[in-house]
Amino acid sequence: MSLSLHLPVLVILLPLMASPLCILIDRARASWLITLIASLLSFYCSVLLLQQVQITGTISYELGGWQPPWGIEYRIDLLSAFMLILVTGLATLVLLFARYSVEQEISKLRIVPFYATLLLAIAGLTGICVSGDVFNVFVFLEISSIASYTLISMGRDRRALNAAFKYLVMGTIGATFILIGIGFLYMHTGTLNMQDLAGRLPALYDNRTIRAGFAFITVGIGLKLALFPLHLWLPNAYTYAPSVVSALLAATATKVAVYMLLRFLLNIFSLDFSLDAMPLDLILIALGSTAIISASLVAIFQVNLKRLLAYSSVAQLGYIALAIGLANHSGLTAAMLHIFNHALMKGALFLSLGAMVYKLGDAELHSSQGLIRHMPLTSVSILVGGLSLIGIPGTAGFISKWYMIQATLELGLWPLALIILAGSVLAVIYIWKIVESIFFQSPPSTVAVHEAPVSMIVPMAILAAANIYFGLNTHLTVDLADSASTLLVMGGGQ
């Protein structure tokens, strides 16, 4: 009975169990340490899991020893392992960063509950990635969502409360839509296990109930994912949330929603049904393109850097939606690459802004003037993240956009390639605004600050370096995304 057999459940249990531990110990410093250790161990488990999956193929874990489809199954294939590494890895880096930032931004009384909630959010997000049972996915989704509403409301600005409330209303509508959709699927198939569903659904593709269920689930996930017209909760939530929370949510939460979308569209339903028989491919392409252009345009006019990046996130999610809508192998590979690379760049950027907020008190454009003089490392990390966001060759952002453009050209859809390029041009404009202010403006004379503490610089530097590393050495990410999308295209999650 080795521990390695239980890795799939350990990934979730570690943060889940650490959360009450924080409350019991009730010391700010200790709860930070517990959170960091729990997410680090969870990251270690995910790395082991990825190795296992690469050697033995998909892992099926029977929760409580009950055989699927009666019991709940945790099923880890390449895509799940990939997402687990992303979520737990970024969570670890963000937590390394968190200590001083949280001490400053969150009132003393709330620090312990803050970390406990953060752990719940991480547990929920990892849970979504491993679960092989659709109802279980819903439960984990709500664990992570309710935790995020709470985390966002802990922002310093009172507008955080209003933003959290709006997110709560829209998020709950989305979750209930998913619940209704799952109910419809269960009504006709009598199963909740993803494998079983994938086996029984093809015979029912013409059934109206199944189609309605499909529509409910897609719209519900669209709300969680902040797909273009459903993105209204996102900008305010990211702007007013504590810096640490913005970084964690921007890097992981929406990505996990994309993962759910891929799972439902391609594994539970099949590529032929969801993107061919249903007009979803056109819808995703249309909404994705609109998101790229309109959200990037809005981002240009923002003066609050966090809000600027939030709008840019909506645009980047548009890229991912567009790539999924292409419905071919290279499109899916590009989507998965962009999930990973976007997490890296937004992680680096939001952490850098977190350091800026820590030292300067806000993330307004005018406060960033001449930042290079006081905080050179933070400024460089913003620059690298920004370049990656634009997609300059040599950065991670370039790789995913390159694959995306290739995927559009494969289908002969060159207007879409132009839209992707136009999005990059718009990104140049809004990133230039920041770079110009940081590097070429003289700092206001009153400000005298120094570089952020080492514990903040290190995770920021790691993420910035990762942006460059994965831009130059693409083997790891491209191979993973490529084989994961092969698995998805084959359908059925075999």
Partner: protein, 136 residues
């Protein structure tokens, strides 16, 4: 089963769902929004419970001489979903309490006005002024 009375439960589900959804969208008062949201979620519960019914099925308790049972699984699922719904409502209400404390109102349009005013005030030249006001 396809007659109107046979689908009575589902008509109730649709009615509750739409009523709840409409309340969430149309009401400006945050507490009413949460009530609408609960109603909306409750409709999904009834959907699941209706699904579980098997014609002529017995209550799912093991008993001699009974072979046909209703499906117990959706009931169990819905217990979980109710827990989720209750916690969402609790978090929502807690947020409303804090919104009331800090803003002094729970009307959406008034909140929006206050937020907009603050957004405008965040522009550079007035920043100083706001900081001073806060100190007072």
């Amino acid at each position: 089963m396809s007659h109107f009375p046979g689908l009575f439960n589902y008509w109730i589900v649709i009615f509750l769902m739409m009523a709840g959804f409409y309340v969430v969208i149309s009401q400006g008062n945050l507490v009413k929004k949460i009530i609408g949201l609960s109603l909306f979620q409750a409709s999904a519960f009834i959907l699941y419970i209706s699904e579980a019914n098997v014609d002529g099925g017995h209550v799912p308790i093991l008993e001699e001489g009974i072979t046909l049972y209703s499906n117990p699984l959706p009931h169990v699922l819905i217990l979980t979903a109710i827990v989720v719904s209750v916690s969402t409502t609790a978090v929502g209400l807690a947020l409303i309490v804090r919104i009331k404390e800090t803003y002094g109102t729970v009307e959406e349009d008034e909140l929006q006005e206050i937020d907009n005013a603050q957004d405008e005030a965040d522009t550079p030249d007035q920043k100083q002024q706001i900081a001073e006001e806060k100190e007072i």
